[in-house]
Symmetry: C2
DNA sequence: GTCTATACCAGGATAGAC
DNA sequence: GTCTATCCTGGTATAGAC
């Protein structure tokens, strides 16, 4: 089971990158927690960036799929509703939520990363397609905020009595209301 | 006019930190653009973090003032409306918008910074005070999103035909609607 | 195929000369 | 008020042990 090492590197890296930030986490820290030297990481990943690429691949694939689906829909209220529900559904799967959180917290550090550039492109097209160019600006902003609201749990995370599911459901409610502008 | 150097360091740093990110910007870059060596910067600022502290001081003071005012208000719809309008007004002054943008883009890199910790505390208390603890979760999320929406211009920045003012006005409109949940 | 030892260069920081 | 010299840490590259 030598395959394990690669996976364990990713797990440790994801946790540390999220907790401390991408640039603040050194390869030495990751290697130490794994019980190897930092050079060993270079056998499994070409660069530090490459570790990130491995992490976001699945998330990128998912969101690309969502865009492909949305492109095939007419620009109707029902399609927008479906988009919000599907997006929320993706986030609900815990693995993707972790990666989404990691991405949110390291936008600037990773702004040049090809995978992240692609994610931004996709998000931009998704939000753009949620309105017609002729719609009032407030409408366009409101609808864009809908997707963003689904990530909002992090500001509510302080209230320990709430479950992840309760937060998701309430966020979806707010997001759907934003669509009606 | 030796005071100039300090100010010029701050201007260059703010621009580079915002464009490239805090950690991605080296002191050597800043020093080079200013025409001195990086050691010279250490005469004006004790550390790299210290440059940030100088930048955010004004913004922190403003937001503290806003919190003090909001604390003195009853929890009424009108007070919340006023809060949104005052917050939007602060952002409108270009200097603060620049700094707000810088802060948004470097949350993770600066997560340990005392000034930033304080800002997060203030934002949390502001959003918490926008609802009663007994309010439905969706209501609390919706009202929290109101303040956040005022920063939303960055996702709209791609549409070159829009002025900053138009974006602000439309964002305020969406924010006020979020209060009515 | 998996890892260690070692070296290189860039970046933040400090001490001390001018 | 600014510079030189120096130190430590971090990402990266390679040679070679097993």
């Amino acid at each position: 089971m030598r395959e394990d090492t690669r996976t364990r590197i990713q797990e440790i890296a994801l946790r540390l990158f999220t907790e401390q930030g991408y640039e603040a986490t050194s390869l030495r820290e990751i290697a130490e927690e794994l019980g190897v030297t930092k050079a060993a990481l270079y056998y499994h990943f070409k660069t530090k960036d490459d570790i990130v690429a491995g992490l976001v691949d699945l998330r990128v694939a998912e969101i690309e799929e969502l865009l492909a689906w949305f492109r095939a829909q007419p620009r109707t209220p029902e399609a927008r509703r479906q988009l919000v529900l599907r997006y929320a559904d993706q986030l609900k799967r815990s693995r993707y939520m972790e990666i989404a959180r990691f991405l949110e917290r390291n936008q600037t550090a990773l702004r040049e990363h090809p995978k992240l550039l692609r994610m931004r492109e996709v998000m931009l097209e998704l939000t753009t397609r949620m309105s017609e160019p002729g719609d009032p600006l407030a409408t366009r902003i409101s609808r864009s905020m809908a997707l963003f609201t689904l990530h909002a749990g992090k500001w509510m995370a302080h209230d320990e009595t709430l479950s992840e599911d309760e937060i998701t459901d309430a966020s979806v409610e707010v997001a759907l209301r934003l669509l009606e502008a």
